[in-house]
Amino acid sequence: MTELSAGGVPPSTSLSVAVGGRVGVQSWWRTPTARRYLFGYTLLAPAVLYVLLLVGIPFVFSLYLAMSDASVGVPVARFVGLENFKTAVENATFYVALRNTIVFTLGAGIMKGLLGTTLAFLLVQPFRGRKIIRALVVIPFTLPIAVSVLGWKWMFDSQFSVINWALNKAALIGPYGSPDWPVWLGQPWLAFFSVMFVNVWRGFPFSAIVLLAGLTSVPPEIIDAAKVDGTSFLKRFRLVIVPMIAPILFIGSAFDTVFTLSDLSIVYLLTNGGPDGATEILPTLAYNTGIRGGALGRGAAISLFLFPLLLPAMIMLLRTLRRRQY
């Protein structure tokens, strides 16, 4: 960390700055502010360079793909501007995928929030076996998603579904072959609910832990003070607890939302968008068009479609967040 290499300092003039700062050519460079800047940018440089090189440059290439008629075998192709985006929005399937993506992300987000909050309130109470239970509920989050989804695929199996077996034993549904036997991945709404549920299953333990952290951190005096004031529980929650845990809540949900928006594995492995597009989301459409179908340019356009919408939203969110934290 101590060496101030040229690569470590973003502006190219900074090399002389680094040297200058030490031998004292110019007096401004010796001021504490200058030293702080130099120190700060040096610390920032590795992270910035890493993501710039490995995401920034490839991203520019992806943008180029999205604006060209490239295919998997012909990457250097004609520039077509926004043509691919235009093609995407002219396609009925695209709207289905867009709608599903939004409903999927929002719906799963809300469910994760509700389940996570309730669980966090239960886990914040002192009780016997709390540690064990806490360890057990995080397992869904720690299993590798590609494999646990395969487990769900078997649990949703149309014939050997363990869920149906349990429902049948509880006398909620008839035996195999009866008309009320649910085919989890086969009926459009059930299929949509099922893929969303797997996302929730994986994500809600994490929401619970983040919220639990927040709840544990609220000083008891504040809650007591609010109690004395006679505020209702919900009001206390909204006025006292939420503002205190808001930053981590925001950052957690921002990352989770972005992850859910671009996550291919659950839908791809369970239904691949079927039946008849009922679970089609933008990542599956992009993957099947661009990678498996080979139309790279159009695939890139579909997968980047949300980017211009997300960008300002995220910038606004992060700005607010940082302001709050100062």
């Binding site: 490995l54 992806s62 793909l65 309730t118 494999v147 646990s148 487990g151 078997w154 050997f160």
Partner: protein, 294 residues
């Protein structure tokens, strides 16, 4: 009425216990649905892992119990007929290096963004986050080129290079919030004592921030385990694969799913991680809380 009063008096201590029992019952009842949802599938996965294949396909059999004697052969299969041992070693090694790279880059970056009041710091921080928005579905194609130029195609080192692209943004923001909670005064005191700014960071700020660092490591590990596409595209050699890719690509052969071994393979990595999680959970909680509360 006459008899009631003494009874009440007698019961006074027991009422506190009764209240505690009632509270426990209430909490446990509340937890039941969560346990069913979160743990039910995991238990079922475990039972599937120690079932015989034929038992899985018995029509009308009880999925939660054994209709044929349980067996460890699915675990045995993993270690003797696949490269599962290598996959675990690879996953551990990948996680170690990814965590190391993440800490080495995200700690200084988070600190600089949080503490040094740099011009453009906000925009730089946002720019780092934005890289998380770029979808992997397209990004893996140009990244394939990068990985190959580095001579890392078909080696798990490729994933060591690629995974920080999503762990760095996340952990930078996490740690940024965390460093804000360290009081300025201890840092200033250290600097008065003759430490430079760097010395203050290394000797004073980091030691009090270790819950945050653990949090960052846990996240790096978990995020690495969620990847499928990058490992699929960059690593095709069996013994170089990480666990998720190995299990998902080599235990499905055509239309035959090795269900038992699939589940065993997932649980063998998932459960230990959950246990480690729990060890650190209190630290972890103060880690994210640190990030949350100024």
């Amino acid at each position: 009425m006459a008899t009631l009063a003494p009874t009440l008096g007698q019961r006074a201590p027991r009422t506190a216990r009764a209240r505690s029992v009632r509270r426990h019952v209430f909490i446990y009842l509340g937890l039941v649905p969560f346990m069913i949802i979160a743990v039910g599938p995991v238990i079922w996965m475990f039972i599937t892992a120690i079932k015989q294949d034929a038992d899985l396909y018995l029509v009308g059999a009880i999925p939660f119990w054994f209709n044929q004697p349980p067996t460890w052969k699915n675990f045995d299969f993993l270690f003797h007929n696949t490269f599962y041992g290598d996959w675990i070693v690879n996953t551990m090694a990948i996680s170690f290096w990814v965590s190391a790279i993440t800490l080495l880059t995200a700690v200084p970056a988070g600190y600089a963004l949080a503490r040094l009041r740099l011009p453009f710091a906000e925009n730089l921080g946002i720019a780092i986050f934005m890289t998380y928005l770029v979808p992997a579905i397209i990004l893996f194609i140009p990244l394939a080129r990068v990985v190959t130029e580095l001579g890392l195609q078909d080696s798990w080192w490729a994933l060591v290079v690629v995974y920080p692209t999503f762990t760095i943004p996340f952990c930078t923001w996490l740690l940024m919030g965390f460093f804000k909670t360290v009081p300025f005064e201890i840092e200033e005191a250290a600097m008065v004592d003759g430490c430079g700014q760097l010395g203050a960071l290394l000797r004073v700020v980091l030691p009090v921030s270790w819950p945050g660092l653990i949090t960052a490591v846990i996240f790096s590990f978990t995020l690495s385990m969620q990847d499928f596409l990058y490992s699929l595209a960059f690593v095709s050699i069996s013994e170089e694969k990480p666990v998720p890719l190995g299990v998902a690509t080599e235990l499905i052969r055509g239309d035959i799913y090795f269900w038992g071994s699939l589940m065993a393979g997932a649980l063998l990595v998932g459960v230990p991680v959950a246990i480690v999680y729990n060890f650190f959970l209190d630290r972890f909680i103060s880690g994210i809380t640190g990030a949350a509360i100024k």
